[in-house]
Subunit: 107 residues, 2 copies
Amino acid sequence: MGHAEEAYKLKKVMTIGTVCEITGLSERKVRYYEERQLVSPARTGKGTRKYSFVDIEHLMEIANQIEEGTPTLEIRKDLDRRKRQKSPEKMKKDMIRGQINAHFKNL
Amino acid sequence: MGHAEEAYKLKKVMTIGTVCEITGLSERKVRYYEERQLVSPARTGKGTRKYSFVDIEHLMEIANQIEEGTPTLEIRKDLDRRKRQKSPEKMKKDMIRGQINAHFKNL
DNA sequence: CGTGTAAGGAATTCTGACACG
DNA sequence: CGTGTAAGGAATTCTGACACG
């Protein structure tokens, strides 16, 4: 399917403490960004958050945008747009729409 | 210097709990293999062990060898040999030794 | 809105030791 | 020798809340 070699980056293995140490963010911030749905850590059976290296990269981008004054809601919307662009379902819909448009143009 | 893209695999970020979940080994075993110097987790300021993905790969290899009946001391020696082979200092010494041997061969 | 902090509990990790084989 | 376990303490993480701006 995908890049098996890059699986490390996606695996949710770090606790919030490690994430904070690497990113320099406070636990409060990291948890708040989750509350705002900007990151989605996995959860262990007892509720401990687990983050991946990709999550860390995202968190640092998020932190930058916030420093620039971007509201979390804006960041959220941007993320949604990117996800929608990459979604296979959406791509299919877009293609169909494109075909229909092309069809009517030829009439 | 090296492969910057592979830095994830070397970064010590996981607690022993995560390592045990991924490898299926008990904490006791993982700590014992460290005592036998088969793995070298990093330590946080307060003493918590941190492992990398590479450490996990090594732990699984170690576990396999032990299942096969190999004593930890043997595994240890094997690791030492491999390390010595890859050591730049040792390689330099070997090269010099080789040159000297070649020198005397020509006399 | 974004973030700090004190609060109290639950889960994690650590070490040294005793046990078994 | 390799591993399980109970023991007690220290550090981590979690949630909900009050605070400030």
